[in-house]
């Protein structure tokens, strides 16, 4: 098959471009640590939320997403942590499929009944972080959110 020299050039440039994108993804993953959720085999699904300080400025939040609120074990739809805290979220659902998006962080995970997901981030800047449910979960979906207060 005759391949036109211009076409060959376009194909090589296209291939290099896609290769560069793949390298950028790998760099972000391994060097910056921007990961996607993976398969958690150790933590089993739980039915109650919990907010635990495991070490100074290190927290574990067990989130149970429910129609239409996030149970984080604090009895209200917010948690308060000091700036610089490293937070690990364990996420599951108590009913239907939900999701968590923290717009100002690279936190984006589905809450699926029967399985547990884990995401981790550090809240450096003080402020009020919004955490919204980003998967349709019934008529109350647009009211499902929580707040993360990061204080000095």
């Amino acid at each position: 098959m005759r391949i036109d020299p211009f076409e060959k050039f376009a194909m090589i440039v296209g291939g290099i471009l896609l290769g560069a994108f793949i390298l950028a993804i790998a760099y972000a993953n391994f060097v910056w640590g921007v990961k996607v959720p993976t398969c958690e085999v150790v933590t089993r699904p739980f039915s109650k939320g919990a907010f635990i300080e495991t070490a100074p400025k290190t927290y574990e939040v067990q989130v149970v997403a429910r129609m239409w609120y996030f149970d984080m074990g604090t009895g209200k739809n917010e948690i308060t942590i000091p700036a610089g805290s490293k937070v690990t979220f364990f996420v599951t659902s108590g009913d239907v499929v939900h999701g968590i998006k923290i717009p100002e962080k690279n936190i984006n995970i589905m809450a699926i009944p029967g399985v547990v997901g884990r995401v981790q981030t550090t809240f450096e800047r003080p402020g009020e972080y919004l955490m919204v449910c980003h998967e349709y979960c019934g008529i109350g979906h647009q009211g499902m959110y929580a707040k993360i207060n990061v204080i000095q």
Partner: protein
């Protein structure tokens, strides 16, 4: 070939009726998200918009169109018309069965119908019949091809048929996933035969289907761009062999990529997600081939029409021709659709945009533009031939294409920008109890403006459509043949392996097994069949 007329027309009547209803709810959503005219059942409307536009409209239009391309490319009648009409009846029955529960508010589960939200059983049974109806259409095309092959044992398969068959091959392999989900999980569960289901398994099967679904929409548009558009532009297809190669690569890489819709899902290893991401980048490659081939074809056309220089040919293209206007607008929008698709596919970069309004900003550029606007252009081309009347309102058709281009650029830009700030998709934002920065409010207003322009554009389309059917001037000549493009580099230069279906389907099956065995294995191991059914309106399981 006269029998094809009513067959294609009836598929299009139903398809465009579905589009008409669905687009109204598209308008309502874009307004509601900006807080305008927000008092209605948003999620019922969203379900209607998704099911009617993305599933019903596309399937009916494509089935009708591909009957036409099959006859045109193989130059023989379908085998058989009776079977094709039977397929139409099954499609229609399925559509009615699925539409009734949505319209009566008993299936507000969106077009992805993720369990454990449960719809009325009729919704699932209806969707199953839609898939079965499309299989019958595929069977008609297959039987026609086999008859043609017996009559022409040595002939090369025409490019138009390569595209037609590729569409149905990808569709058939894809629909096995959704058929398994609906038949084995959702129907028995919604009928109460089993009490609990497996949400992660259902999602995984859905997305095994859900990504190649987009190629089922897109490949008929590629068919039009490769085999019809260059002739409309006044030129030739630059390379027939490279077009064949692109279609074969779509068979290979359309399917083993579905987990890229589940990058944010727990229960699936990030290593397997990375593998699907890699295959997704490979499926971008045939689209890059397409971009080169079509641009070269347009250059050939522009230069044939007297254009010269590096960019001078660009000005000579027939922008005043409604069919071309629709095609070129669709292709321009698809450039942005493709680029934003690469963002979505980019594994960890997806964490920024997953389930935000960036996503529907993206797919309104692809299925909502590259596909829908190309189908509108095809209607401007083909409907006059089928109806025996000249195109009604050429100017309106031109305005329609370019307003769609403008409206969609506004709509998609606004939603992609808002998505970057974390605004969720599939959310009745006008009624949300949380708030985003001020700029998001302005972006939602901009999105609503885009929505209004798009809706107005679609009304122009329906005026042209109905006018061409009922009031256009009667044309003297009647023919059901499509203007098929010649190639500059012809099929004679293409290696014969590019016509060998068995090779490509065989490799595709191997790739699917490699990509999906570990994923399904993991999902079955980790995710239990433990979810009772929920209605979207109650936070407790349904009593059963």
């Amino acid at each position: 070939m006269g029998k094809i007329r009513s067959l294609t027309l009836w598929h299009w009547y139903v398809g465009f009726a579905a589009l008409f209803v669905g687009l109204f709810f598209g308008l309502r959503q874009s307004l509601a998200r900006a807080g305008i005219w927000a008092k209605y059942d948003y999620y019922q409307g969203l379900t209607l918009h998704g099911v009617l536009n993305a599933l019903v409209f596309t399937t009916f239009f494509i089935a009708g169109f591909l009957y036409l391309t099959t006859e045109n490319s193989l130059k023989r009648p379908l085998r058989s018309y009776a079977l094709a009409w039977f397929g139409f009846v099954v499609l229609l029955a399925g559509t009615v069965l699925a539409a009734v529960p949505i319209l009566t508010g008993r299936a507000s589960v969106l077009y992805t119908f993720y369990p454990p939200l449960m719809a009325h059983p009729s919704f699932y049974i209806g969707l199953t019949l839609v898939v079965v109806g499309s299989w019958i259409a595929a069977l008609v095309v297959l039987r026609t091809y086999l008859a043609w092959r017996r009559e022409n044992p040595e002939a090369r398969v025409p490019l138009m048929f390569i595209a037609t068959a590729t569409t149905y091959i990808v569709w058939f392999i894809a629909t096995i996933g959704v058929a398994a989900e609906v038949l084995f999980l959702l129907i028995p569960w919604s009928l109460g035969w089993v009490k609990e289901t497996n949400p992660l398994l259902a999602r995984t099967l859905f997305w095994y289907f859900g990504h190649p679904l987009v190629y089922f929409w897109l490949l008929p548009a590629y068919l039009a761009w490769y085999t019809i558009m260059p002739r409309i532009a006044g030129g030739k297809l630059y390379s027939d062999p490279m077009a064949r190669l692109a279609f074969m690569l779509f068979i290979l890489f359309s399917i083993p990529v579905g987990t890229h819709h589940q990058f944010a899902d727990p229960g699936i290893g990030s290593n397997w997600k990375a593998l699907h991401a890699f295959f997704t980048f490979l499926v971008a490659f045939p689209s890059l081939l397409t971009a080169f081939n079509l641009a070269a074809s347009l250059e050939y056309a522009g230069k044939s029409r007297g254009g010269s220089g590096l960019f001078g040919w660009w000005a000579k293209l027939p922008y005043g021709e409604p069919v071309f206007a629709a095609f070129i607008s669709a292709m321009i929008l698809f450039i942005f659709g493709g680029i934003s698709g690469i963002v979505n596919a980019s594994y960890n970069l997806n964490m920024v945009v997953h389930n935000t309004s960036f996503i529907f900003g993206h797919f309104h550029l692809t299925v909502g533009s590259a596909v829908t606007l190309t189908f509108m252009g095809l209607t401007y081309l083909i409907l006059p031939r089928l109806s025996g009347r000249e195109l009604f309102g050429r100017r309106l058709a031109l305005v329609q294409s370019y307003t769609w281009l403008i409206g969609m650029l506004i709509f998609s830009f606004a939603n992609m920008a808002a998505g970057r700030m974390g605004v969720p998709r599939r959310t009745d934002l006008g009624l949300s109890t949380y708030s985003f920065p001020q700029v998001v409010e302005r972006l939602e207003k901009l999105s609503a403006l885009g929505g209004v322009i798009l809706y107005a554009s679609s009304l122009l389309f329906f005026v042209v459509f109905l006018g061409t059917l009922f009031v256009g001037r009667r044309s003297k000549e009647r023919s059901f043949s499509l203007p098929v493009t010649e190639a500059y580099q012809t099929e004679a230069e293409a290696p014969r392996v590019l016509d060998n279906w068995k090779v490509w389907i065989g490799i595709a099956v191997v790739l699917i097994i490699i990509a999906y065995t570990p994923v399904l294995n993991q999902v079955l191991e980790i995710s239990p069949f433990g979810s009772p059914a929920y209605s979207p309106s109650l936070p407790v399981p349904l009593p059963r």
